[in-house]
């Protein structure tokens, strides 16, 4: 698992994860999780289509909360191409980066995506939205109540997390 010069875990975020924080307008939370250094591949940026979300992402990049990266290494591009047979564009690019650089991947996709990730890197390389909120609670960035409120907001936007309350998830995480 790779870290940056400041000892932060290098994370590449897929749009399934990123979009939750854009919808909530809480990309600041990602910047305050000092354990992680978040990146997005330009393919993921291209998947963000709504104007308000694009503006929030641009601000997050400008503020250094998220770092945008490109893939130029042929072996990574070949892996991306292989994954494109069965995964979406952004998730193929993100997973190719995670696998070849041994970075953590932030994603909420399940099914085939998760199977590929677990098969190639293992469960320990996954950070999901619930995991990010658990980490934020542990780091004192948000309270349990705030986390539940964010969950409710996401539910309104048709994103369902594990229904167990965050105090239970905290014990697990």
């Amino acid at each position: 698992m790779e870290k940056d010069a400041n000892g932060r875990l290098l994370v590449v975020a897929d749009s399934s994860f990123l979009i939750n924080f854009l919808v909530l307008d809480r990309t600041d939370l990602l910047g305050r999780l000092t354990k992680f250094h978040f990146h997005i591949v330009n393919h993921v940026r291209a998947e963000i289509r709504y104007d308000d979300q694009c503006a929030r992402l641009e601000a997050a990049v400008e503020n250094g909360v998220v770092t945008e990266i490109e893939i130029t290494e042929p072996s990574e591009i070949l892996l991306y191409d292989e994954l494109r047979q069965f995964l979406g564009d952004g998730e193929s690019a993100s997973l190719a980066v995670a696998v070849s650089r041994r970075w953590v991947i932030a994603a909420d996709e399940k099914g085939r995506f998760r199977r590929e990730l677990f098969g190639r890197l293992g469960e320990n390389y996954l950070l999901d939205t619930a995991g990010a909120l658990v980490t934020a609670i542990k780091a004192g960035v948000i309270t349990l109540g705030q986390a539940e409120a964010l969950r409710a907001q996401l539910r309104e936007n048709r994103f369902e997390m594990d229904p167990r309350p965050f105090d239970e998830l905290l014990k697990e995480g």
Binding site: V41, D81, F86, G88, E109, K110, R112, E123, N124, E172
Partner: protein
């Protein structure tokens, strides 16, 4: 065969080698740096830098370049680069520069081909591709005259009908019949003078594109016409069927094939007999008892056997072809004379109203009826249900097949109602360093 002989290039893939490949691929499709840079929304200088190996293109650039150059992305980056490789679409556009220069239509054709390839990919993921292996090859002798072309087309139609065990009845759904043979049939808007085109893709199988602007009966005919090209012109890679090429021998053969495939001789004769027509006005039968012959004669009422406009309309309606196609088929089968054809031909309007009276067009479903796109989408939903593809991939495929956002939600809901498989039961994933 040695790599050098086939134009293979085996080099370690550094920026310089990738640049060389990109330059070669661009030149192979006859595009200038300016053209490509415009399509990529980058400066010509930036593209020149990629080609000179001064700067490595990123994956987004490469995906777009591979599309423009009609090469697989993996092909551009593989250890061995086949310089001589020809995508069937490139061959098609080379053969038909008129279509190639119509940027919008050329792009739409490329989009259709992409759909066909995605469909093949889904079948592979679902393990149903083996059921659709397509390797029929008739290998007919060269044609010298139009007569040869017509005879060949008719004979091929007979052989193909027999091979597919289609009997003598009308084809109720030609596209489905061909789909079952591994031939993709798709409709899109083409210029008025193009009835259809075919592409032979060794990797993904043959595809037929028919002009959706034409009326249903003409589209059915075009589909059968292109199927003939798939059967016997595959080595050409692709062909565009244009009105102005109708006298070319492969086009004549394909037209004769289409008429005979849609209207098999035995089926037409049986149908005409059921109408009480098609017999000679005077018939004679003989019975021989090994010593002597006894003869019987039948004389029909004058003109009782003459085929009328409503008979032709009835035949056309029954076999799902146009009035004109039916007329020429009857002429070729000598069920009418050329004089009769000339008399019947101007009665097209009457024939149309009779055909309307007889019932709706054979496949006159609404414009929303897109069998190939529907098939692709349902395959994709099944692949998602079986976790062969991700939700994001499903969404991409649905967008490619022009599924509306509301329709996508309904489709996904049918699958996502099921309990998810393979979940470990963890509520939150947090990596531990």
């Amino acid at each position: 065969m040695r790599y050098q002989e086939r134009g293979w290039r085996q080099m370690p893939l550094d920026k310089e080698e990738l640049g060389r490949r990109l330059k070669h691929a661009r030149e192979a499709v006859g595009l200038s740096q300016e053209d490509v840079a415009t399509q990529l929304s980058i400066s010509r200088g930036a593209l020149a830098q990629f080609e000179a190996g001064a700067k490595a293109p990123n994956s987004l650039h490469l995906v777009r370049l591979a599309e423009i150059y009609r090469r697989g992305l993996g092909e551009l980056l593989a250890e061995q680069f086949d310089e001589a490789a020809r995508d069937p679409l490139t061959a098609l556009f080379r053969a038909d520069t008129q279509l190639a220069s119509d940027r919008e239509r050329a792009r739409a054709v490329a989009e259709c081909v992409k759909l066909c390839r995605e469909c093949t990919n889904l079948e592979k993921l679902l393990g149903v591709d083996q059921d659709r292996a397509y390797d029929v090859n008739y290998n007919p002798p060269p044609m010298r005259t139009r007569w040869d072309a017509i005879r060949q087309g008719e004979r091929l139609a007979e052989l193909e009908r027999a091979r597919l065990r289609l009997g003598e009845d009308p084809l109720t759904n030609l596209a489905e019949t061909l789909e079952a043979q591994g031939v993709r049939c798709i409709e899109m808007s083409l210029s008025e003078n193009i009835s259809g085109l075919f592409l032979s893709d060794t990797k993904y199988g043959p595809s037929i594109i028919v002009n959706e602007e034409h009326v249903a009966r003409r589209r059915v005919f075009s589909c059968a016409h292109e199927y003939c090209h798939v059967l016997v012109d595959r080595e050409r890679g692709g062909l565009v069927s244009r009105t102005e090429n109708r006298e070319d021998l492969p086009e004549v053969r394909a037209n004769a094939f289409a008429a005979a495939f849609l209207m098999p001789e035995a089926g037409v004769r049986a149908f005409v007999r059921r109408l009480g027509k098609g017999e000679q006005s005077r018939s004679q039968l003989s019975a021989y008892d090994e010593t002597q012959v006894v003869e019987g004669q039948r004389r029909r009422e004058a003109h009782s056997q003459d085929i009328q406009v409503y008979d032709v309309a009835h035949i056309a309606h029954h076999f799902g072809v146009s009035f004109e196609t039916a007329l020429f088929r009857l002429l070729n089968l000598k069920l009418i004379t050329d004089e009769e054809r000339v008399q019947l031909a101007p009665q097209k309007e009457s024939a149309s109203s009779i055909m309307r009276f007889l019932g709706p067009e054979p496949d006159a479903k609404g414009p929303e009826h897109k069998p190939f796109r529907h098939q692709l989408v349902l395959l994709a939903v099944e692949a998602y249900r079986r976790e062969a593809i991700s939700r994001a991939k499903l969404k991409e495929l649905c967008e490619l097949a022009q599924v509306l956002p509301g329709e996508f939600k309904s489709l996904v809901a049918t699958v996502e109602q099921e309990p998810e498989k393979g979940q470990s039961g963890r509520g939150a994933y947090v990596p531990r360093a």
